[in-house]
């Protein structure tokens, strides 16, 4: 149980190489679950190794419980890590694997036995204690790797893509189990993944990284609903957010985004009024589930007619692809309405949820205006009609 704070952490390998980590600033409370997520090569694993002390930072400070640990060696940091490859000691049996860290810390033998028994019970691996890692399945190895981390009762757990070597079914099971474990133990945890589902489901806080920079740091909901830029918006969410290039028009002092499906046009009112925007290349971001079928009775939301080009039934949803502004757009619809390729659908959007990005910089526009406020404005407008 400890707080973790990273202050302006920098990491470079020198020789004129670009910095691997640039000005990383973040902090989490005691017991929180932090997710570092990003594409491969974004620096998330390096950052984790820096926290563990396996790599030295070249600038800034890492603080645990407000004490600077950046100069300490890994063994003095009281941090345990679960590796992607599990890194179980192949010549030791499961019991010795779990006990190794305790022996190194000169714990008395009786206490070690007790601790191993506790951890084995917690992870339901009591029957495996005498086996060698090579005799275990992937899921069992995963449990032992977690057991080794749990046994030390460290201040902070680090997980380095722990589920990526498991098959899909086991991955979902272990994900739930890790969450359960965290809810029970309430130990501060840092978890590296490239899987946005893991990021959304496990984290209290999520840091989305790219090119050694933190793109956004917030709760999963903030990251999902209120992405800071095009990269975060595209990285989080499955199926991914639709990005439609748009031109803005100004009508009666309001900015409208124009959508064209080839057979119909729609003017989407936006809650922003920045004069310079009409001339810029902009991108409209709409998540698939924010596009719905218009009800028979008009509800005042802006809509458009579009032809169905592809349907992908996933079971719980029906993904329908249409073309808006020459861009393929995915809509997540209820599967109970029969939809076939070639049908013309009446789609509608919730303007309150629509995001606007600058095409050149990828930055989100009107970030300071939260979507909820825009929504309130629009509802008021619709009521006023």
């Amino acid at each position: 149980m400890a707080t973790l704070e990273l202050r302006n952490v920098n990491k470079t390998y020198g020789n004129g190489l670009p910095d691997t980590l640039k000005h990383i600033d973040l902090s989490i409370e005691s017991g929180e679950f932090l997710i570092l997520v990003g594409p491969s090569g974004c620096g998330k694993s390096t950052l984790m190794n820096c926290i563990a002390g396996l790599e030295q930072i070249t600038g800034g400070a890492i603080l645990v419980d407000d004490a600077d640990i950046s100069g300490m060696s890994p063994k003095d940091r009281d941090i345990a890590m679960v590796f992607q490859s599990y890194a179980l000691y192949p010549t030791m049996n499961v019991r010795d694997n779990i006990a190794f860290g305790l022996k190194m810390r000169k714990m008395p033998a009786a206490a070690i036995d007790e601790e191993v028994a506790r951890v084995a019970k917690l992870l339901q691996i009591e029957h495996l204690l005498t086996r060698k890692p090579g005799q275990l399945s992937g899921g069992q190895q995963q449990r032992v790797a977690m057991g080794r981390a749990l046994a030390r009762r460290p201040k902070i757990y680090l997980f380095d893509e722990p589920l990526s070597n498991l098959d899909a079914k086991l991955r979902v099971e272990m994900r739930t189990e890790i969450k359960l474990m965290h809810q029970r133990l309430k130990t501060t945890t840092v978890y590296v993944t490239h899987d946005q589902i893991e990021a959304m489901t496990l984290g209290d806080k999520v840091a989305v990284m790219k090119d050694g920079l933190i793109q956004q740091f917030g709760t999963p909901q903030q990251i999902y609903n209120d992405p800071a830029n095009l990269f975060v918006a595209s990285f989080i969410g499955s199926p991914p957010m639709n990005f439609i290039p748009v031109r803005l028009q100004c009508k009666e002092g309001r900015l409208l985004a124009v959508l064209d499906s080839g057979q119909a046009r729609c003017e989407l009112p936006l809650g922003i009024s920045d004069a310079g925007l009409e001339t810029r290349e902009l991108i409209l971001g709409i998540r698939p589930e924010q596009i719905s079928l218009a009800p028979a009775v008009a509800n005042g939301l802006p809509g458009i007619q579009a032809d169905v080009q592809i349907t992908e039934p996933t079971g719980p949803d029906l993904l329908v692809f249409v073309t808006l502004n020459q861009t393929k757009v995915c809509c997540r619809l209820a599967p109970d309405v029969p939809t076939r390729v070639g049908d013309t659908l009446n789609l509608q959007f919730d303007p309150a949820r629509v995001l606007l990005f600058d095409a050149a910089s990828g930055e989100r526009l009107g970030v300071n205006v939260t979507p909820r406020q825009i929504g309130a404005d629009n509802v008021a407008q619709f009521k006023g009609r």
Binding site: A52, L54, K75, F83, S85, A87, P90, T91, F100, G134
Partner: protein
């Protein structure tokens, strides 16, 4: 009735294959057979019989005489080989561990330079080595010869261990560091127990090299400290008296048996180590 996959019918091609194999096998085995047979013959038997004839009377007299002559040198060879093999293997393991898991600036260059040692012919290092041994006060001592073998073997053992440890995931070392293990604990508790196969490879290689060495032995050891290879040479090349082929052959067998034994024993462990130490993931 199930039919065997092997063709039952006699065929000339098969006969040709088997007879070629048998011939090759015989060619390889005949020298050994001649040696064995001759070593158990009496001197008269050797003079009267032919090379491949069975001994008229099987006698151990050649072996006894051979042991009396080279037995002392046999123990010299043991005293040279065992420490040289053990130390060069251990140091090679340590070198390989550092060069694969604790890379430092210039470690690749260091490794590259070390590899030069594998390509150096023995003859080129004779003079510098004897000069160095003289300076160290180890000239014409068993320790000196051991030192030469260790230094010369390090290039090979380092190469073996370094390449073996490169295939070990470095996450193991990182996990052990987080668990609180230090440099030597990680080496001794994690890596060495995994290294049985490569240790066996090193032992076989080094034992064969050092036991069979003649040149270093003849240059750096003198008198009673000489290894068995040198003693064997002296025995066979004596120009006085009657040539005792049975003694020569028995002495050659005595000189060759330990390497054969190491192959038979360590080869088994080597295979076992290969299958048991398999690392998953």
């Amino acid at each position: 009735m199930t039919r065997s996959l092997a063709p039952r019918a006699f065929s000339f091609s098969r006969l040709a294959i088997y007879s070629t194999l048998l011939l090759a096998c015989a060619l390889y085995l005949i020298p050994l057979i001649v040696m064995l047979l001759t070593s158990f013959k009496s001197p008269e038997d050797i003079r009267t019989g032919n090379l491949l004839s069975w001994p008229a009377v099987i006698t151990g007299i050649g072996w006894i005489k051979a042991w009396d002559t080279v037995g002392g040198y046999f123990w010299n060879s043991v005293k040279i080989t065992v420490p040289a093999v053990v130390i060069s293997t251990l140091l090679g393991a340590l070198n390989g561990y550092v060069l694969s898991m604790w890379r430092f600036r210039g470690s690749q260059l260091f490794f590259g330079l070390l590899l030069f040692g594998c390509f150096l012919p023995f003859q080129t290092v004779l003079l510098p080595a004897s000069f160095t041994l003289g300076k160290l006060g180890l000239a014409s001592t068993t320790s000196g010869l051991v030192l030469v073998h260790i230094v010369y073997g390090l290039a090979f053992t380092t190469l073996f261990f370094r390449n073996y440890y490169c295939s070990v995931p470095d996450a193991l070392v990182r996990a052990a560091r987080l668990d609180g293990a230090g440099f030597f604990t990680i080496f001794g508790r994690i890596l060495l127990p995994m290294s049985v196969p490569i240790i066996m490879v090193c032992l076989i290689w080094q034992f064969t090299q050092i036991w069979n060495d003649f040149l270093f032995g003849v240059v750096f050891a003198s008198g009673d400290a000489q290894p068995i290879t040198v003693a064997l040479n002296n025995l066979v090349n004596t120009s006085t008296g009657v040539k005792e082929y049975n003694v020569d052959m028995a002495a050659a067998m005595i000189a060759g048996l330990p390497t054969l034994l190491v192959y038979v024993l360590a080869g088994k462990y080597f295979l076992r180590g290969l299958t048991a130490g398999a690392v998953k993931g």
